[in-house]
């Protein structure tokens, strides 16, 4: 495909997605209920958010080669700071968003400055440890702010009405779609900018970058903060979609799921990461539905139990991909459709 055809296909695809809430028909098997109904729109919106989140993770992991195990922390920052400001302190949404933006710039700046003193696996371990600290903090419910294990329902009188209620799911759907498009454009711009080239050079050979007179530390910190900030933006949209904060997003398991998404889609390609995030979230949701169908429930225990566990199926799929399809879904597709 020539670049021009590709852009046309993309724009048409986006228009179709944007018009989806107006569709009345349904696609049986793929989605339950009408395509424009709130259930399907909510699922698709979640897929977009996870596609965008996988994209932000791919920025550090795929483009700079930083194996961070703490990305969930920054997503959770977006979720929890906004939720606390709106629900507990009754701030208006713009004020809460401003606070979230400040926190999600300062936090990764400080933690990134510490973590990036390590490299490779030790770096991965320190990020994991900091994320774990964040997870413990949320679970302990300090000053009754986070709601502990119960989570925190997004409430309060200050939320604009067009964001609340099942009838307004289509607004949230459009917000999620816009998030994905904007983040993709930012990420695309970033990796094709001069600093983006340096990131990829660091991934290939960090010492050589240093010898050439550039400071890899600053470039890595820049990528780390950018990626964390964008992840927080995903967290805010996720919060609006779910209508509440859930401590699950702070756990190390959540970061591992992100890793699975990026590897599933293809490390180091933007659209591959998006694809991975979308497919993962879709499978995770649909496999739960599948396990509750009568056909699966009727199977003998030896077959029923593995099929009822989405994480088991995703884990096995992940192992198979790592072993046999190193480029992920994106790499496999690219071999089929040479550019």
């Amino acid at each position: 495909m020539t670049p021009r055809v590709r852009v046309t296909v993309l724009v048409v695809g986006l228009l179709v997605l944007a018009a989806l809430p107006l569709a009345g028909f349904s696609i049986p098997g793929l989605f339950e209920g009408a395509l424009g109904g709130p259930g399907t729109l909510n699922l698709l919106a979640l897929c977009f958010v996870f596609g965008a989140l996988a994209l932000t993770y791919d920025l550090v992991f795929g483009y700079v080669g930083l194996l961070s195990f703490g990305h969930a922390l920054y997503f959770a920052t977006g979720v929890y700071v906004t939720a606390i400001a709106v629900t507990r302190w009754h701030w208006s949404l713009p004020a809460a968003l401003l606070l979230t933006a400040v926190v999600s710039l300062v936090l990764p700046l400080i933690l990134g400055a510490v973590c990036l003193r390590m490299r490779d696996i030790p770096f991965a371990m320190v990020t994991l440890a900091f994320a774990q600290a964040g997870s413990i903090l949320v679970a302990q419910n300090p000053f009754g702010l986070t709601g502990g294990e119960e989570g925190l329902a997004l409430g309060g009188d200050t939320l604009p009405s067009f964001l609340i209620g099942v009838a307004n799911t289509r607004n949230l759907y459009w917000i999620a779609l816009a998030l994905l498009v904007v983040l993709y454009l930012i990420a695309w711009r970033a990796v094709n900018s001069p600093p983006g080239r340096v990131w990829q050079a660091i991934r290939e050979n960090e010492r050589r970058v240093a010898v050439l007179g550039l400071n890899p530390y600053l470039f890595k910190l820049g990528a780390f903060v950018l990626s964390a900030f964008l992840a927080s933006a995903c967290g805010v949209v996720y919060l609006l979609l779910q209508g509440g904060a859930n401590p699950e997003v702070t756990t190390s398991g959540f970061t591992l799921a992100l890793l699975v998404m990026v590897v599933l889609g293809g490390v180091g390609t933007l659209w591959g990461a998006v694809l991975g995030g979308v497919v993962y979230e879709y499978l995770d949701f649909r496999l739960v539905a599948l396990s509750n169908t009568a056909a699966v429930q009727a199977l003998p225990g030896l077959l029923r139990v593995p099929l009822s566990e989405p994480l088991f199926l995703l884990g096995v799929l992940f192992i198979v991909l790592v072993l046999f399809v190193p480029g992920g879904l994106g790499g496999a597709l690219r071999r089929r459709l040479p550019a």
């Binding site: 194996l67 510490v114 003193r117 390590m118 696996i121 030790p122 991965a124 371990m125 320190v126 994991l128 440890a129 900091f130 774990q132 600290a133 413990i136 903090l137 679970a139 302990q140 190390s252 398991g253 591992l256 890793l259 699975v260 590897v263 139990v305 593995p306 009822s308 566990e309 989405p310 994480l311 088991f312 995703l314 884990g315 096995v316 992940f318 192992i319 790592v322 072993l323 190193p326």
Partner: protein, 293 residues
């Protein structure tokens, strides 16, 4: 004094569990540069295998049931780990990130399978009567399970040190940790050593799984993962690849965690362990033992 003694020994018990997990992780990392996320899966699967086995011999005395559980957990942990190395790690020797990713996938898949098969509710592990009792040490009533766990960890530590210092395979492992390329160049089959350290690590993790069940009285699918994170911290603080370093770090982390969780608010201890890791890494990136990574 009684409180301090109780906290100290409980902390040592916790540290003993961390050590059993961390020792294998540390050896595997030192020899193969694999960050093994599946270690928590070895722990969990072995614990459930032991629990099931003790159910199968339900008619016999509690002591026999418990011993059967321990033996089965060790064997299953070792076998599962060796199998993992041969089937999943071996094809990826040239790809380090791929190895980490495969262990991540295995951990996710196995733990959710256990959860699906046995349910997420904790299972009670039957214990002999004397284990549920307490022993009085300097006025404090110490649960016997704590002492038992510590004794087991000491025995494993002694066995590991003996294996590493006094046997031919131990020599190969130690040399491999120092310089793997040189060992290979000398014509020694390092692959066998790889499978062996995985099996040893899996056996220790399996023992930790069933002992954690003894320590807490129950087993559940999530404990392996949460203990694995602290074991990672222990491995890093102790210095990657060093068994003795892991032992020292496990004691420090376990005791610190117990004391601060008791005297501070709940969770403060867990929090300060992470802080300790950050400080150690900033001051000595190689950990206590100072092995360069």
């Amino acid at each position: 004094v009684t409180t301090i003694a109780l906290l100290l020994i409980t902390g040592l018990g916790l540290g003993a569990l961390y050590f059993l997990i961390a020792a294998g992780l540390s050896l595997i990392w030192g020899l193969m540069r694999v960050l093994n996320f599946a270690h928590g899966a070895f722990f969990t699967v072995a614990a459930y295998a032991g629990w099931s086995a003790s159910g199968l011999v339900g008619g016999s005395s509690p002591e026999v049931q418990w011993l059967v559980a321990v033996a089965v957990a060790i064997v299953v942990g070792g076998a599962f780990a060796a199998l993992t190395e041969v089937v999943l790690i071996r094809p990826l020797y040239a790809r380090h990130v791929g190895q980490v990713l495969v262990t991540v996938g295995l951990a996710l898949a196995t733990i959710s399978l256990v959860q699906g098969g046995f349910g997420s509710d904790p299972k009670r592990l039957g214990l002999p009567a004397w284990m549920t009792g307490t022993t009085t040490i300097v006025g404090a009533n110490i649960p016997n399970t704590r002492l038992l766990v510590i004794a087991f960890a000491l025995a494993v530590f002694a066995l590991l040190i003996f294996f590493l210092r006094r046997t031919r395979f131990g020599l190969i492992v130690r040399a491999g940790v120092e310089n793997r390329a040189m060992v290979q160049a000398l014509g020694i089959d390092v692959q066998r050593a790889f499978t062996l350290v995985f099996a040893i690590g899996g056996m220790a993790a399996g023992l930790a799984g069933i002992l954690a069940g003894t320590y807490y009285g129950t087993i559940d699918p999530g404990r392996g993962t949460s203990m694995l994170i602290f074991a990672f911290i222990v491995v890093i603080i102790g210095g990657l690849g060093s068994v003795t370093g892991s032992a020292v770090a496990a004691i420090v982390v376990g005791v610190l965690q117990q004391f601060l969780n008791f005297y501070g608010a709940a969770g403060v201890g867990d929090f300060s362990v992470v802080l300790l890791l950050a400080i150690v890494l900033l001051v000595r990136p190689g950990g206590f033992s100072g092995a360069s990574t």
